[in-house]
């Protein structure tokens, strides 16, 4: 029986955490992630989860404690946003290198400065190369689904990496939608028991973990980590298939929306896909061959699947919700690499920084009008 509730994305993530019932959650509050841990803390206080919540003094400490807990043999989750992730960034790299299967919700929020609390993806992109998996939800339902799937991906022996479930700040974290929750027992069975290869509290098989690596080993260990991240893409698809059997919903690495015969396609991450789908539907009603490629998995980047999905398109426009001053924005750069050698016309557009709305008319302009490199920005409109 499905249990449909009116929940914000933050609450939906908290309910996924309640059902997964992690052993340890070290966490520090920050907007717009706060509703996640606030809701979860209440569920724990009400006896609905048995988690040890560790109220740490900073996000740097949150991730440090999470590494210790995860490697000691406890299933571990956390949540953060923006500056919290920035403070945590040093330790996120270490979590990935120590192959700690931590699951963390990221309420995407613009990095300072200027200081801002609203959504963009600059926080995610700050740790783009840290070696963690990053999955982007489109809405509260998908945030819930990915949070249930994430432990299976993180803890798979072929992966053993942190998995971040990214949900757009406010747009998803604070907006209430009907969310279908799985039965508690189904989630318990789906995630299964927790194990890591070398639990540090296993005194019968002691290990040194996170050892110093000189030039003779550092390179090999980095390659090993990169290989695990490559494999995570296959594991994601396996877990997505299992999850579909359980829920009827498929959350794979990417979603091709009305793309089968599209000549013009947009590529985007996160909640903006909802707006784009509406515009695609309008354009289809007007007999325009428009489509959307929505990426769920930004890391690992599904390069081959992206190239295949866009194979028939003549025009591809990439929407980045993070800029790369002095260079090419991250999603645009990935698409340029994925489509290298094809004769598709590729353009890149930065939008939505610091929570700036992207209107359907902006999206329509990218499909049919004169596209600009910055969507919704005041000032001179320069051509791509």
């Amino acid at each position: 029986m499905s249990d449909v509730r009116l929940l914000t994305g933050g609450e939906a993530v908290a309910h996924a955490m309640r059902q997964v019932d992690p052993d340890v959650v070290p966490v520090y509050p920050i907007t717009p992630q706060t509703p996640i841990i606030q809701t979860f803390a209440k569920l724990v206080a009400d006896g609905q989860a048995s988690t040890e919540i560790v109220n740490v003094e900073s996000e740097h400490s949150a991730m440090s404690a999470a590494i210790g807990a995860a490697l000691a043999g406890g299933r571990t989750m956390s949540a953060t946003s923006s500056q919290g992730l920035a403070l945590m960034a040093e330790v996120v790299y270490i979590a990935a290198s120590m192959r700690a299967p931590i699951v963390m919700a990221l309420g995407n929020r613009a990095l300072s400065g200027p200081i801002n609390i609203h959504c963009d993806h600059s926080d995610s992109m700050l740790i783009r190369d840290s070696g963690v998996v990053q999955l982007f939800a489109e809405n509260a339902q998908e945030a819930y689904d990915l949070m249930v799937m994430a432990p299976r991906i993180a803890e798979d022996p072929r992966v053993l990496l942190p998995v971040l479930v990214c949900l757009d700040g406010f747009t998803i974290t604070h907006s209430a939608e009907p969310v279908s929750l799985l039965p508690d027992d189904d989630v318990t069975r789906f995630v299964g028991p927790y194990s890591v290869p070398n639990a540090v509290l296993d005194t019968t098989s002691p290990t040194t973990q996170g050892p110093f690596a000189m030039p003779d080993y550092y390179f090999e260990l980095r390659r090993q980590q990169a290989a695990a991240l490559e494999t995570a893409l296959d594991v994601l698809e396996e877990v997505a298939l299992d999850f579909e059997r359980l829920s009827g919903r498929r959350n794979g690495a990417l979603e091709a929306y009305r793309l089968e015969d599209a000549t013009r396609a947009l590529v985007a991450l996160g909640s903006t896909a909802g707006t784009i789908k509406d515009v695609v539907d309008e354009l289809r009603d007007e007999h325009e061959l428009a489509g959307l490629l929505r990426l769920v998995s930004f890391r690992t980047f599904p390069t081959a699947a992206v190239a295949a999905a866009l194979d028939e398109c003549t025009h591809v426009a990439v929407l980045d919700r993070a800029d790369s001053p002095g260079g090419t924005p991250p999603l645009h750069a990935e698409l340029a690499a994925a489509l290298y050698g094809s004769d598709v016309e590729l353009t890149g557009h930065v939008y939505g920084l610091g929570g700036r709305d992207l209107h359907p008319s902006d999206v329509r302009a990218v499909f049919t009008g004169t596209p600009t490199p910055y969507l919704g920005l005041r000032g001179e409109r320069c051509l791509v």
Partner: protein, 92 residues
């Protein structure tokens, strides 16, 4: 480097099992000085053996015999604690 593990054969995240430290010859970290001993002055108090942070003082039974330069990092603690100044740090 040819006899070192590859990225495929290394344990996950480079986890280290007990008993493998002797494989790493840390004596290569010495920067210019090594301990030298005048055995005629040595009173076999074994303070150097007790204080050496790298277990690089060698014994035969309970008798001081010298230094294992495969592991000595040249810190000079042995020379410092020697009560009869039998140990001196000398250029390599």
């Amino acid at each position: 480097m040819a006899d070192l593990s590859t990225w495929e054969t290394l344990p996950v995240a480079g986890a280290v099992r007990p008993g493998v430290a002797p494989r790493t010859l840390t004596g290569g970290w010495r920067t210019g000085e090594r301990p030298a001993v005048d055995v005629s002055l040595c009173v076999n108090c074994l303070l150097c053996w007790l204080y050496c942070p790298d277990s690089a003082v060698t014994l035969s039974g309970e008798t001081f015999t010298g230094f294992d330069l495969d592991y000595c990092k040249g810190c000079g603690i042995c020379a410092d604690v020697c009560p009869v100044a039998a140990i001196a740090m000398v250029p390599e």
